[in-house]
Protein backbone atom coordinates (compact mmCIF):
# COMPACT_ATOMS: atom_id res chain seq x y z
CA UNK A 1 0.00 0.00 0.00
CA UNK A 2 1.06 3.49 -0.56
CA UNK A 3 1.23 5.98 2.19
CA UNK A 4 0.37 9.38 0.75
CA UNK A 5 1.58 12.42 2.64
CA UNK A 6 1.90 10.95 6.10
CA UNK A 7 4.73 8.50 5.62
CA UNK A 8 5.85 8.50 9.22
CA UNK A 9 2.61 7.13 10.54
CA UNK A 10 2.33 4.62 7.74
CA UNK A 11 5.91 3.39 7.94
CA UNK A 12 5.16 1.40 11.09
CA UNK A 13 2.61 -0.81 9.38
CA UNK A 14 5.05 -2.97 7.53
CA UNK A 15 7.09 -3.74 10.56
CA UNK A 16 4.52 -6.34 11.44
CA UNK A 17 4.47 -8.39 8.32
CA UNK A 18 1.23 -9.73 7.00
CA UNK A 19 2.56 -13.18 6.46
CA UNK A 20 5.68 -14.22 8.24
CA UNK A 21 8.55 -15.23 6.07
CA UNK A 22 10.73 -18.25 6.15
CA UNK A 23 13.40 -16.52 4.09
CA UNK A 24 14.88 -14.71 7.02
CA UNK A 25 15.45 -17.98 8.82
CA UNK A 26 17.12 -20.05 6.17
CA UNK A 27 19.36 -17.20 5.12
CA UNK A 28 20.20 -18.16 1.57
CA UNK A 29 17.46 -18.48 -0.97
CA UNK A 30 17.95 -19.91 -4.43
CA UNK A 31 17.26 -17.46 -7.26
CA UNK A 32 13.81 -17.73 -8.81
CA UNK A 33 15.31 -19.02 -12.05
CA UNK A 34 16.49 -22.12 -10.21
CA UNK A 35 13.48 -22.45 -7.93
CA UNK A 36 10.82 -22.54 -10.63
CA UNK A 37 11.93 -25.68 -12.55
CA UNK A 38 12.28 -27.67 -9.33
CA UNK A 39 8.94 -26.44 -8.07
CA UNK A 40 7.21 -27.31 -11.34
CA UNK A 41 8.76 -30.77 -11.39
CA UNK A 42 7.67 -31.48 -7.84
CA UNK A 43 4.14 -30.15 -8.37
CA UNK A 44 3.78 -32.02 -11.68
CA UNK A 45 4.60 -35.23 -9.79
CA UNK A 46 2.01 -34.30 -7.16
CA UNK A 47 -0.51 -33.69 -9.96
CA UNK A 48 0.13 -37.13 -11.48
CA UNK A 49 -0.39 -38.82 -8.12
CA UNK A 50 -3.48 -36.73 -7.35
CA UNK A 51 -4.98 -37.54 -10.74
CA UNK A 52 -4.43 -41.26 -10.20
CA UNK A 53 -5.97 -41.13 -6.72
CA UNK A 54 -8.94 -39.06 -7.91
CA UNK A 55 -9.54 -41.42 -10.84
CA UNK A 56 -9.41 -44.44 -8.58
CA UNK A 57 -11.49 -43.10 -5.69
CA UNK A 58 -15.28 -43.07 -5.79
CA UNK A 59 -18.40 -44.96 -4.79
CA UNK A 60 -17.02 -47.87 -6.77
CA UNK A 61 -13.21 -47.70 -6.71
CA UNK A 62 -11.98 -48.51 -10.18
CA UNK A 63 -9.65 -51.40 -10.70
CA UNK A 64 -7.60 -50.11 -13.59
CA UNK A 65 -7.09 -53.67 -14.85
CA UNK A 66 -10.88 -54.00 -15.47
CA UNK A 67 -10.79 -51.19 -18.02
CA UNK A 68 -9.37 -53.54 -20.60
CA UNK A 69 -12.15 -56.09 -20.57
CA UNK A 70 -15.15 -54.81 -18.63
CA UNK A 71 -17.41 -52.70 -20.87
CA UNK A 72 -19.40 -51.31 -17.94
CA UNK A 73 -16.29 -50.28 -16.04
CA UNK A 74 -14.98 -48.59 -19.16
CA UNK A 75 -18.20 -46.65 -19.64
CA UNK A 76 -18.21 -45.57 -16.03
CA UNK A 77 -14.61 -44.52 -16.26
CA UNK A 78 -14.63 -42.64 -19.56
CA UNK A 79 -18.09 -41.07 -19.39
CA UNK A 80 -18.19 -40.14 -15.72
CA UNK A 81 -15.01 -40.49 -13.71
CA UNK A 82 -12.42 -39.14 -16.14
CA UNK A 83 -14.41 -36.05 -17.27
CA UNK A 84 -15.21 -35.20 -13.68
CA UNK A 85 -11.60 -35.43 -12.57
CA UNK A 86 -10.51 -33.32 -15.53
CA UNK A 87 -13.16 -30.75 -14.75
CA UNK A 88 -12.08 -30.58 -11.11
CA UNK A 89 -8.50 -30.08 -12.27
CA UNK A 90 -9.38 -27.29 -14.70
CA UNK A 91 -11.63 -25.50 -12.20
CA UNK A 92 -9.07 -25.82 -9.40
CA UNK A 93 -6.20 -24.63 -11.57
CA UNK A 94 -8.23 -21.62 -12.75
CA UNK A 95 -9.45 -20.56 -9.31
CA UNK A 96 -5.97 -20.86 -7.79
CA UNK A 97 -4.41 -18.83 -10.59
CA UNK A 98 -7.08 -16.13 -10.33
CA UNK A 99 -6.57 -15.97 -6.55
CA UNK A 100 -2.81 -15.58 -6.91
CA UNK A 101 -3.28 -12.85 -9.54
CA UNK A 102 -5.83 -10.89 -7.52
CA UNK A 103 -3.63 -11.06 -4.42
CA UNK A 104 -0.76 -9.52 -6.37
CA UNK A 105 -2.91 -6.99 -8.20
CA UNK A 106 -4.56 -5.68 -5.04
CA UNK A 107 -1.53 -6.31 -2.81
CA UNK A 108 -3.91 -8.13 -0.50
CA UNK A 109 -3.14 -11.67 0.72
CA UNK A 110 -6.82 -12.26 1.53
CA UNK A 111 -8.11 -11.53 -1.98
CA UNK A 112 -9.66 -14.38 -3.96
CA UNK A 113 -12.76 -14.79 -6.14
CA UNK A 114 -15.05 -15.55 -3.19
CA UNK A 115 -13.83 -12.89 -0.76
CA UNK A 116 -13.98 -10.17 -3.43
CA UNK A 117 -17.56 -11.03 -4.38
CA UNK A 118 -16.60 -12.06 -7.90
CA UNK A 119 -17.99 -15.57 -7.43
CA UNK A 120 -21.21 -14.11 -6.03
CA UNK A 121 -21.64 -11.89 -9.08
CA UNK A 122 -20.99 -14.85 -11.35
CA UNK A 123 -23.55 -16.92 -9.46
CA UNK A 124 -26.17 -14.20 -9.87
CA UNK A 125 -25.50 -13.99 -13.60
CA UNK A 126 -25.74 -17.75 -13.97
CA UNK A 127 -28.95 -17.92 -11.87
CA UNK A 128 -30.57 -15.36 -14.13
CA UNK A 129 -29.58 -17.42 -17.16
CA UNK A 130 -31.06 -20.59 -15.63
CA UNK A 131 -34.25 -18.81 -14.50
CA UNK A 132 -34.88 -17.43 -17.95
CA UNK A 133 -34.51 -20.84 -19.45
CA UNK A 134 -30.97 -20.78 -20.76
CA UNK A 135 -29.99 -23.44 -18.27
CA UNK A 136 -30.35 -26.46 -20.51
CA UNK A 137 -27.10 -28.31 -20.04
CA UNK A 138 -26.45 -29.33 -23.63
CA UNK A 139 -26.94 -26.42 -25.99
CA UNK A 140 -27.33 -23.61 -23.49
CA UNK A 141 -24.03 -23.95 -21.68
CA UNK A 142 -22.26 -21.05 -23.39
CA UNK A 143 -25.14 -18.74 -22.42
CA UNK A 144 -24.61 -19.58 -18.76
CA UNK A 145 -20.89 -19.05 -19.31
CA UNK A 146 -21.48 -15.59 -20.72
CA UNK A 147 -24.06 -14.64 -18.09
CA UNK A 148 -21.74 -15.75 -15.27
CA UNK A 149 -18.84 -13.95 -16.95
CA UNK A 150 -20.89 -10.75 -17.12
CA UNK A 151 -21.95 -11.11 -13.48
CA UNK A 152 -18.39 -11.77 -12.31
CA UNK A 153 -17.03 -8.85 -14.35
CA UNK A 154 -19.68 -6.47 -13.00
CA UNK A 155 -18.98 -7.55 -9.42
CA UNK A 156 -15.27 -7.05 -9.88
CA UNK A 157 -15.77 -3.53 -11.24
CA UNK A 158 -18.11 -2.55 -8.41
CA UNK A 159 -15.80 -3.85 -5.69
CA UNK A 160 -12.79 -2.22 -7.25
CA UNK A 161 -14.49 1.16 -7.70
CA UNK A 162 -15.67 1.11 -4.10
CA UNK A 163 -12.28 0.21 -2.66
CA UNK A 164 -10.08 2.45 -4.76
CA UNK A 165 -9.33 6.01 -3.71
CA UNK A 166 -6.83 7.67 -6.01
CA UNK A 167 -3.72 5.55 -6.27
CA UNK A 168 -4.54 3.53 -3.16
CA UNK A 169 -6.69 0.41 -2.91
CA UNK A 170 -7.85 0.12 0.69
CA UNK A 171 -7.42 -3.52 1.69
CA UNK A 172 -10.15 -3.53 4.33
CA UNK A 173 -12.68 -1.77 2.13
CA UNK A 174 -11.94 -4.19 -0.69
CA UNK A 175 -12.87 -7.22 1.41
CA UNK A 176 -15.89 -5.58 3.04
CA UNK A 177 -17.22 -4.53 -0.33
CA UNK A 178 -16.68 -8.10 -1.56
CA UNK A 179 -18.53 -9.65 1.38
CA UNK A 180 -21.48 -7.26 1.04
CA UNK A 181 -21.62 -7.87 -2.69
CA UNK A 182 -21.79 -11.62 -2.03
CA UNK A 183 -24.74 -11.07 0.32
CA UNK A 184 -26.57 -8.92 -2.18
CA UNK A 185 -25.95 -11.40 -5.00
CA UNK A 186 -27.03 -14.32 -2.79
CA UNK A 187 -30.24 -12.47 -1.89
CA UNK A 188 -31.03 -11.97 -5.55
CA UNK A 189 -30.40 -15.64 -6.22
CA UNK A 190 -32.90 -16.54 -3.45
CA UNK A 191 -35.47 -14.12 -4.91
CA UNK A 192 -34.97 -15.63 -8.36
CA UNK A 193 -35.44 -19.11 -6.92
CA UNK A 194 -38.64 -17.96 -5.22
CA UNK A 195 -40.20 -16.64 -8.40
CA UNK A 196 -39.02 -19.24 -10.84
CA UNK A 197 -40.75 -22.60 -11.35
CA UNK A 198 -40.00 -25.61 -9.19
CA UNK A 199 -37.68 -27.55 -11.47
CA UNK A 200 -35.54 -24.54 -12.29
CA UNK A 201 -35.40 -23.51 -8.63
CA UNK A 202 -34.13 -26.98 -7.82
CA UNK A 203 -31.60 -26.72 -10.61
CA UNK A 204 -30.35 -23.39 -9.22
CA UNK A 205 -30.19 -24.80 -5.70
CA UNK A 206 -28.24 -27.89 -6.74
CA UNK A 207 -25.88 -25.75 -8.69
CA UNK A 208 -25.28 -22.97 -6.10
CA UNK A 209 -24.02 -25.54 -3.61
CA UNK A 210 -21.30 -26.41 -6.06
CA UNK A 211 -20.85 -29.77 -7.67
CA UNK A 212 -18.63 -30.98 -10.44
CA UNK A 213 -21.14 -33.41 -11.97
CA UNK A 214 -20.43 -33.90 -15.62
CA UNK A 215 -21.22 -36.52 -18.24
CA UNK A 216 -18.96 -36.93 -21.25
CA UNK A 217 -16.47 -34.56 -22.74
CA UNK A 218 -18.64 -31.92 -24.49
CA UNK A 219 -18.58 -29.57 -21.53
CA UNK A 220 -14.88 -30.19 -20.93
CA UNK A 221 -13.99 -29.00 -24.44
CA UNK A 222 -16.17 -25.93 -24.08
CA UNK A 223 -14.60 -25.06 -20.76
CA UNK A 224 -11.16 -25.47 -22.22
CA UNK A 225 -12.07 -23.07 -25.02
CA UNK A 226 -12.99 -20.41 -22.46
CA UNK A 227 -10.44 -21.14 -19.76
CA UNK A 228 -7.29 -21.57 -21.84
CA UNK A 229 -7.21 -17.90 -22.96
CA UNK A 230 -7.47 -16.90 -19.30
CA UNK A 231 -4.58 -19.18 -18.32
CA UNK A 232 -2.46 -17.75 -21.11
CA UNK A 233 -3.26 -14.12 -20.30
CA UNK A 234 -2.47 -14.53 -16.60
CA UNK A 235 0.73 -16.42 -17.38
CA UNK A 236 1.78 -13.57 -19.68
CA UNK A 237 1.03 -11.07 -16.90
CA UNK A 238 3.21 -12.85 -14.33
CA UNK A 239 6.16 -10.47 -14.58
CA UNK A 240 4.01 -7.35 -14.45
CA UNK A 241 2.04 -8.74 -11.50
CA UNK A 242 5.30 -9.53 -9.71
CA UNK A 243 6.25 -5.84 -9.93
CA UNK A 244 2.74 -4.56 -9.15
CA UNK A 245 2.74 -6.74 -6.00
CA UNK A 246 5.53 -4.51 -4.65
CA UNK A 247 3.71 -1.27 -5.40
CA UNK A 248 1.99 0.31 -8.36
CA UNK A 249 4.18 3.36 -8.70
CA UNK A 250 7.40 1.39 -8.65
CA UNK A 251 5.91 -0.97 -11.23
CA UNK A 252 4.93 1.99 -13.43
CA UNK A 253 8.41 3.49 -13.10
CA UNK A 254 9.89 0.15 -14.20
CA UNK A 255 7.90 0.32 -17.43
CA UNK A 256 4.71 -1.59 -16.53
CA UNK A 257 1.49 -0.19 -17.98
CA UNK A 258 -0.41 -0.70 -14.72
CA UNK A 259 -3.85 0.25 -16.05
CA UNK A 260 -3.54 -2.13 -18.99
CA UNK A 261 -2.36 -4.95 -16.73
CA UNK A 262 -5.30 -4.29 -14.46
CA UNK A 263 -7.80 -4.46 -17.29
CA UNK A 264 -6.30 -7.69 -18.63
CA UNK A 265 -6.29 -9.35 -15.20
CA UNK A 266 -9.92 -8.26 -14.65
CA UNK A 267 -11.03 -9.61 -17.98
CA UNK A 268 -9.19 -12.91 -17.59
CA UNK A 269 -10.28 -13.37 -13.96
CA UNK A 270 -13.92 -12.56 -14.66
CA UNK A 271 -13.94 -14.97 -17.60
CA UNK A 272 -12.36 -17.78 -15.61
CA UNK A 273 -14.45 -17.27 -12.48
CA UNK A 274 -17.57 -16.95 -14.65
CA UNK A 275 -16.91 -20.26 -16.37
CA UNK A 276 -16.00 -22.12 -13.19
CA UNK A 277 -19.10 -20.79 -11.43
CA UNK A 278 -21.28 -21.70 -14.42
CA UNK A 279 -20.11 -25.34 -14.42
CA UNK A 280 -19.49 -25.94 -10.73
CA UNK A 281 -21.21 -23.27 -8.64
CA UNK A 282 -19.31 -21.14 -6.17
CA UNK A 283 -16.34 -23.15 -4.97
CA UNK A 284 -14.69 -20.90 -2.43
CA UNK A 285 -11.21 -20.49 -0.99
CA UNK A 286 -9.28 -22.54 -3.57
CA UNK A 287 -7.75 -19.23 -4.67
CA UNK A 288 -6.69 -18.55 -1.11
CA UNK A 289 -5.38 -21.91 0.13
CA UNK A 290 -3.40 -22.88 -2.94
CA UNK A 291 -1.37 -19.68 -3.58
CA UNK A 292 -0.50 -19.44 0.11
CA UNK A 293 0.62 -23.05 0.23
CA UNK A 294 2.82 -22.26 -2.79
CA UNK A 295 4.19 -19.18 -1.01
CA UNK A 296 5.13 -21.19 2.04
CA UNK A 297 6.94 -23.75 -0.11
CA UNK A 298 8.54 -21.68 -2.86
CA UNK A 299 8.62 -18.04 -1.74
CA UNK A 300 7.01 -14.79 -2.84
CA UNK A 301 7.99 -14.41 -6.49
CA UNK A 302 4.71 -14.07 -8.43
CA UNK A 303 6.41 -15.51 -11.52
CA UNK A 304 6.88 -18.70 -9.47
CA UNK A 305 3.55 -18.51 -7.63
CA UNK A 306 1.34 -18.31 -10.73
CA UNK A 307 2.43 -21.47 -12.61
CA UNK A 308 2.80 -23.39 -9.33
CA UNK A 309 -0.71 -22.37 -8.27
CA UNK A 310 -2.01 -23.68 -11.59
CA UNK A 311 -0.59 -27.16 -10.92
CA UNK A 312 -1.30 -27.31 -7.19
CA UNK A 313 -4.82 -25.88 -7.70
CA UNK A 314 -5.62 -28.72 -10.08
CA UNK A 315 -4.33 -31.31 -7.60
CA UNK A 316 -6.13 -29.71 -4.69
CA UNK A 317 -9.59 -29.62 -6.25
CA UNK A 318 -9.25 -33.13 -7.71
CA UNK A 319 -8.51 -34.46 -4.24
CA UNK A 320 -11.18 -32.29 -2.57
CA UNK A 321 -13.70 -33.64 -5.08
CA UNK A 322 -12.53 -37.20 -4.46
CA UNK A 323 -13.20 -36.64 -0.75
CA UNK A 324 -16.60 -35.15 -1.57
CA UNK A 325 -17.49 -38.21 -3.65
CA UNK A 326 -16.36 -40.82 -1.16
CA UNK A 327 -16.72 -39.52 2.37
CA UNK A 328 -20.46 -40.26 2.69
CA UNK A 329 -20.29 -43.68 1.10
CA UNK A 330 -23.32 -43.79 -1.20
CA UNK A 331 -24.09 -40.06 -1.04
CA UNK A 332 -22.05 -37.10 -2.18
CA UNK A 333 -21.05 -33.88 -0.46
CA UNK A 334 -20.85 -30.66 -2.43
CA UNK A 335 -17.18 -30.00 -3.17
CA UNK A 336 -17.72 -26.33 -2.25
CA UNK A 337 -18.42 -27.43 1.32
CA UNK A 338 -15.10 -29.29 1.47
CA UNK A 339 -13.09 -26.33 0.16
CA UNK A 340 -14.91 -23.89 2.47
CA UNK A 341 -14.28 -26.13 5.48
CA UNK A 342 -10.58 -26.17 4.63
CA UNK A 343 -10.36 -22.59 3.43
CA UNK A 344 -12.30 -20.84 6.18
CA UNK A 345 -9.74 -21.67 8.87
CA UNK A 346 -6.90 -20.74 6.49
CA UNK A 347 -8.52 -17.36 5.90
CA UNK A 348 -8.88 -16.77 9.65
CA UNK A 349 -5.30 -17.86 10.22
CA UNK A 350 -4.08 -15.37 7.62
CA UNK A 351 -6.24 -12.66 9.14
CA UNK A 352 -4.76 -13.37 12.56
CA UNK A 353 -1.25 -13.09 11.19
CA UNK A 354 -2.15 -9.76 9.73
CA UNK A 355 -1.49 -8.14 13.03
CA UNK A 356 -2.54 -4.70 12.01
CA UNK A 357 -4.61 -4.29 8.89
CA UNK A 358 -3.99 -0.81 7.61
CA UNK A 359 -7.02 1.26 6.63
CA UNK A 360 -9.48 -1.32 8.01
Amino acid sequence: MNCGEDTRRCAGVGEHDLISSRHSQDGKQKPAAKRLPRALLLLAAVLVVSTAVALWAGYAPIAFADLRGDEMARLLFFRLRLPRVLMAGMVGASLAMVGASLQALFRNPLAEPLTLGVSGGGALGASLAIAFGFGAKVAGVPVIFLAAFAGAGAAMLVVYRLARTGAVVMPGALLLAGVVLNFVAASFVVIIQYFTDYSRALQILRWTIGSLDVVGFDLIWRMLLFLAPGWIILALMARDLHLIALDEETAASLGVDVRRSERLVYAASSLMVGVTVAVGGTIGFVGLIVPHAVRLMFGEDVRVILPCSFLLGASFLMLADAVARTVLGAGELPVGAITALTGGPVFLWLLRRQQRLAAM
Binding site: A11, G14, L18, H23, R107, H242, G255
Partner: protein, 267 residues
Protein backbone atom coordinates in the same frame (compact mmCIF):
# COMPACT_ATOMS: atom_id res chain seq x y z
CA UNK B 1 30.90 15.59 -31.23
CA UNK B 2 29.98 19.17 -30.56
CA UNK B 3 26.38 18.23 -30.02
CA UNK B 4 27.24 15.68 -27.37
CA UNK B 5 29.52 18.15 -25.61
CA UNK B 6 26.78 20.70 -25.66
CA UNK B 7 24.35 18.16 -24.27
CA UNK B 8 26.70 17.18 -21.52
CA UNK B 9 26.88 20.76 -20.38
CA UNK B 10 23.12 21.32 -20.50
CA UNK B 11 20.24 20.03 -18.46
CA UNK B 12 19.65 16.29 -18.19
CA UNK B 13 16.02 16.62 -17.23
CA UNK B 14 13.91 19.59 -18.18
CA UNK B 15 10.28 20.38 -17.40
CA UNK B 16 8.47 22.90 -19.55
CA UNK B 17 5.25 24.46 -18.31
CA UNK B 18 3.81 21.24 -16.86
CA UNK B 19 0.16 21.01 -15.86
CA UNK B 20 -1.36 18.04 -14.07
CA UNK B 21 -4.61 17.15 -12.28
CA UNK B 22 -5.47 13.75 -10.78
CA UNK B 23 -8.66 13.59 -12.79
CA UNK B 24 -10.38 15.85 -15.29
CA UNK B 25 -12.45 18.37 -13.36
CA UNK B 26 -10.27 18.22 -10.24
CA UNK B 27 -8.09 21.27 -9.50
CA UNK B 28 -4.62 21.13 -11.01
CA UNK B 29 -1.91 20.20 -8.51
CA UNK B 30 0.86 21.16 -10.92
CA UNK B 31 0.27 24.52 -12.63
CA UNK B 32 2.88 25.62 -15.09
CA UNK B 33 5.94 24.07 -13.41
CA UNK B 34 9.25 24.47 -15.22
CA UNK B 35 12.72 23.42 -14.15
CA UNK B 36 16.06 22.36 -15.57
CA UNK B 37 18.01 19.71 -13.65
CA UNK B 38 21.71 19.95 -14.44
CA UNK B 39 23.60 16.84 -15.53
CA UNK B 40 25.59 15.18 -12.76
CA UNK B 41 24.11 17.38 -10.06
CA UNK B 42 22.47 16.57 -6.75
CA UNK B 43 19.31 18.64 -6.43
CA UNK B 44 16.41 19.05 -4.00
CA UNK B 45 12.78 19.87 -4.55
CA UNK B 46 11.27 21.71 -1.56
CA UNK B 47 7.97 23.40 -0.81
CA UNK B 48 4.99 23.39 1.53
CA UNK B 49 2.62 20.42 1.88
CA UNK B 50 0.36 20.22 -1.14
CA UNK B 51 2.57 22.44 -3.28
CA UNK B 52 2.80 19.70 -5.92
CA UNK B 53 6.28 18.25 -5.26
CA UNK B 54 5.30 14.60 -5.42
CA UNK B 55 3.15 15.14 -8.49
CA UNK B 56 5.95 17.00 -10.24
CA UNK B 57 8.56 14.34 -9.51
CA UNK B 58 6.17 11.65 -10.83
CA UNK B 59 5.78 13.64 -14.04
CA UNK B 60 9.56 13.93 -14.31
CA UNK B 61 9.86 10.15 -13.88
CA UNK B 62 7.24 9.42 -16.52
CA UNK B 63 5.09 7.62 -13.92
CA UNK B 64 2.22 9.97 -14.73
CA UNK B 65 1.64 12.07 -17.82
CA UNK B 66 1.14 15.86 -17.85
CA UNK B 67 -2.13 17.28 -19.17
CA UNK B 68 -0.11 20.02 -20.85
CA UNK B 69 3.57 20.83 -21.14
CA UNK B 70 6.51 18.60 -21.85
CA UNK B 71 9.32 16.78 -20.06
CA UNK B 72 12.63 16.54 -21.93
CA UNK B 73 15.18 13.93 -20.98
CA UNK B 74 18.60 14.43 -22.54
CA UNK B 75 16.94 16.75 -25.05
CA UNK B 76 14.36 14.14 -26.10
CA UNK B 77 10.66 14.22 -25.13
CA UNK B 78 10.20 11.74 -22.27
CA UNK B 79 6.94 10.58 -23.84
CA UNK B 80 8.80 9.35 -26.90
CA UNK B 81 10.89 6.90 -24.87
CA UNK B 82 9.52 3.38 -24.64
CA UNK B 83 8.70 2.85 -20.92
CA UNK B 84 11.22 0.04 -20.43
CA UNK B 85 13.93 2.06 -22.16
CA UNK B 86 13.05 5.01 -19.93
CA UNK B 87 13.37 2.74 -16.90
CA UNK B 88 16.98 1.97 -17.84
CA UNK B 89 17.81 5.69 -17.67
CA UNK B 90 15.54 7.15 -14.99
CA UNK B 91 14.82 5.44 -11.68
CA UNK B 92 12.00 6.66 -9.47
CA UNK B 93 11.53 5.76 -5.80
CA UNK B 94 8.05 6.55 -4.44
CA UNK B 95 7.36 7.56 -0.84
CA UNK B 96 8.09 4.78 1.62
CA UNK B 97 5.63 1.97 1.13
CA UNK B 98 5.37 -0.72 3.74
CA UNK B 99 4.99 -3.64 1.38
CA UNK B 100 2.57 -6.49 1.96
CA UNK B 101 4.35 -9.62 0.82
CA UNK B 102 7.53 -10.75 2.57
CA UNK B 103 9.80 -10.61 -0.47
CA UNK B 104 13.50 -10.72 0.34
CA UNK B 105 15.51 -7.51 -0.07
CA UNK B 106 17.41 -9.16 -2.92
CA UNK B 107 14.16 -10.03 -4.71
CA UNK B 108 13.06 -6.40 -4.44
CA UNK B 109 16.41 -5.10 -5.72
CA UNK B 110 16.25 -7.61 -8.60
CA UNK B 111 12.99 -5.96 -9.69
CA UNK B 112 15.21 -3.07 -10.72
CA UNK B 113 16.62 -5.40 -13.39
CA UNK B 114 13.22 -6.01 -15.00
CA UNK B 115 13.75 -3.29 -17.67
CA UNK B 116 16.66 -5.43 -18.89
CA UNK B 117 15.02 -8.88 -18.80
CA UNK B 118 12.45 -10.25 -21.20
CA UNK B 119 9.00 -11.37 -20.18
CA UNK B 120 9.86 -15.05 -19.97
CA UNK B 121 13.37 -14.86 -18.55
CA UNK B 122 14.36 -14.68 -14.98
CA UNK B 123 17.33 -12.55 -13.97
CA UNK B 124 20.68 -14.04 -15.01
CA UNK B 125 23.97 -14.19 -13.11
CA UNK B 126 24.92 -10.69 -14.18
CA UNK B 127 21.60 -9.26 -12.99
CA UNK B 128 22.11 -10.95 -9.64
CA UNK B 129 25.61 -9.55 -9.30
CA UNK B 130 24.38 -6.05 -10.26
CA UNK B 131 21.73 -6.37 -7.54
CA UNK B 132 24.30 -7.41 -4.94
CA UNK B 133 26.55 -4.52 -5.98
CA UNK B 134 23.63 -2.09 -5.68
CA UNK B 135 22.96 -3.28 -2.14
CA UNK B 136 26.66 -2.97 -1.32
CA UNK B 137 26.75 0.57 -2.75
CA UNK B 138 24.31 1.70 -0.08
CA UNK B 139 25.96 -0.39 2.67
CA UNK B 140 23.02 -2.79 2.78
CA UNK B 141 24.65 -6.00 1.56
CA UNK B 142 23.81 -7.65 4.88
CA UNK B 143 20.08 -7.18 4.23
CA UNK B 144 20.00 -9.29 1.03
CA UNK B 145 18.28 -12.34 2.51
CA UNK B 146 16.06 -10.46 4.95
CA UNK B 147 12.35 -10.13 4.31
CA UNK B 148 11.46 -6.51 3.47
CA UNK B 149 8.40 -6.54 5.71
CA UNK B 150 10.69 -7.16 8.69
CA UNK B 151 13.01 -4.23 7.95
CA UNK B 152 12.95 -0.88 9.69
CA UNK B 153 11.85 2.19 7.76
CA UNK B 154 15.45 3.22 7.21
CA UNK B 155 16.54 -0.20 6.00
CA UNK B 156 13.58 -0.38 3.65
CA UNK B 157 14.57 3.00 2.22
CA UNK B 158 18.07 1.69 1.51
CA UNK B 159 16.60 -1.36 -0.25
CA UNK B 160 14.41 0.93 -2.38
CA UNK B 161 17.46 3.02 -3.26
CA UNK B 162 19.40 -0.13 -4.14
CA UNK B 163 16.50 -1.25 -6.36
CA UNK B 164 16.74 2.09 -8.17
CA UNK B 165 20.53 1.71 -8.55
CA UNK B 166 20.07 -1.79 -9.98
CA UNK B 167 18.35 -0.07 -12.92
CA UNK B 168 21.78 1.44 -13.67
CA UNK B 169 20.12 4.80 -14.27
CA UNK B 170 21.61 8.15 -15.24
CA UNK B 171 19.04 9.92 -13.12
CA UNK B 172 17.54 9.12 -9.70
CA UNK B 173 14.25 10.66 -8.58
CA UNK B 174 13.45 10.11 -4.91
CA UNK B 175 10.21 11.17 -3.23
CA UNK B 176 10.84 12.04 0.43
CA UNK B 177 13.56 9.43 0.95
CA UNK B 178 14.51 10.88 4.33
CA UNK B 179 11.01 10.95 5.83
CA UNK B 180 11.32 7.67 7.76
CA UNK B 181 14.96 8.11 8.68
CA UNK B 182 16.64 9.19 11.88
CA UNK B 183 19.43 11.76 12.04
CA UNK B 184 22.26 9.33 11.34
CA UNK B 185 20.52 7.56 8.47
CA UNK B 186 19.54 10.86 6.85
CA UNK B 187 23.15 11.95 6.80
CA UNK B 188 24.11 8.50 5.49
CA UNK B 189 21.57 8.72 2.66
CA UNK B 190 22.87 12.11 1.53
CA UNK B 191 26.44 10.78 1.66
CA UNK B 192 25.40 7.85 -0.57
CA UNK B 193 23.77 10.20 -3.07
CA UNK B 194 26.78 12.56 -3.10
CA UNK B 195 29.11 9.58 -3.63
CA UNK B 196 27.00 8.24 -6.50
CA UNK B 197 27.14 11.68 -8.07
CA UNK B 198 30.90 12.00 -7.63
CA UNK B 199 31.87 8.43 -8.55
CA UNK B 200 29.29 7.49 -11.18
CA UNK B 201 28.05 10.89 -12.35
CA UNK B 202 24.47 10.00 -11.37
CA UNK B 203 22.10 12.96 -11.40
CA UNK B 204 19.65 12.95 -8.49
CA UNK B 205 16.61 14.94 -7.48
CA UNK B 206 15.04 14.38 -4.08
CA UNK B 207 11.84 15.74 -2.63
CA UNK B 208 12.40 16.75 0.98
CA UNK B 209 10.96 18.76 3.82
CA UNK B 210 14.24 18.60 5.60
CA UNK B 211 16.03 21.82 4.68
CA UNK B 212 18.89 21.09 7.07
CA UNK B 213 19.87 18.26 4.73
CA UNK B 214 20.44 20.51 1.82
CA UNK B 215 23.93 21.82 1.83
CA UNK B 216 26.82 21.58 1.47
CA UNK B 217 26.27 18.37 -0.54
CA UNK B 218 23.57 19.81 -2.80
CA UNK B 219 24.19 21.69 -6.02
CA UNK B 220 20.70 22.86 -6.88
CA UNK B 221 17.46 23.62 -5.04
CA UNK B 222 14.01 24.02 -6.59
CA UNK B 223 11.29 25.54 -4.43
CA UNK B 224 7.64 24.93 -5.32
CA UNK B 225 4.65 27.01 -4.44
CA UNK B 226 1.10 26.50 -5.67
CA UNK B 227 2.05 23.91 -8.27
CA UNK B 228 4.83 25.92 -9.91
CA UNK B 229 8.56 26.28 -9.32
CA UNK B 230 8.80 29.62 -7.54
CA UNK B 231 12.57 29.75 -7.02
CA UNK B 232 15.61 27.79 -8.12
CA UNK B 233 19.37 28.05 -7.85
CA UNK B 234 22.26 27.10 -5.60
CA UNK B 235 21.25 26.34 -1.97
CA UNK B 236 22.66 29.68 -0.77
CA UNK B 237 20.51 31.54 -3.29
CA UNK B 238 17.25 29.78 -2.46
CA UNK B 239 17.65 29.30 1.29
CA UNK B 240 17.15 32.96 2.18
CA UNK B 241 14.57 34.64 4.42
CA UNK B 242 12.68 36.45 1.70
CA UNK B 243 12.61 33.51 -0.73
CA UNK B 244 11.51 30.98 1.89
CA UNK B 245 8.91 33.37 3.35
CA UNK B 246 7.40 33.48 -0.12
CA UNK B 247 7.66 29.72 -0.75
CA UNK B 248 6.10 28.68 2.57
CA UNK B 249 3.79 31.72 2.77
CA UNK B 250 5.18 32.26 6.25
CA UNK B 251 6.92 35.49 7.16
CA UNK B 252 8.44 33.87 10.26
CA UNK B 253 10.82 31.63 8.31
CA UNK B 254 14.47 32.40 9.00
CA UNK B 255 17.62 31.13 7.29
CA UNK B 256 21.11 31.70 8.69
CA UNK B 257 24.60 30.61 7.69
CA UNK B 258 26.74 28.88 10.28
CA UNK B 259 29.34 26.09 10.26
CA UNK B 260 29.40 26.25 6.45
CA UNK B 261 25.74 25.33 6.08
CA UNK B 262 22.36 26.99 6.21
CA UNK B 263 20.01 26.59 9.15
CA UNK B 264 16.33 27.15 8.53
CA UNK B 265 13.55 27.48 11.07
CA UNK B 266 10.23 29.18 11.63
CA UNK B 267 9.87 31.44 14.65
Amino acid sequence: MNVSNERRAGALLEARELHFAYAPGLPEVVRGASLALGRGLLAALIGANGSGKSSLIRLLGGVSQPARGEVLFDGVPLRSLEPRVRARRIAYVPQASAGVFPLTALEVVLMGRSPYTSRFRFENERDISVAHDALAAVDAAHLAARSVTELSGGERQLVALARALAQEPECLLLDEPSAALDLKHRAGLIRHLARLRDERGITALIVTHDLQLLDPAFDQVFAMRGGAVAASGAPAEVLRDEVLAEVYADEHVRARQAFGRTFVWSE
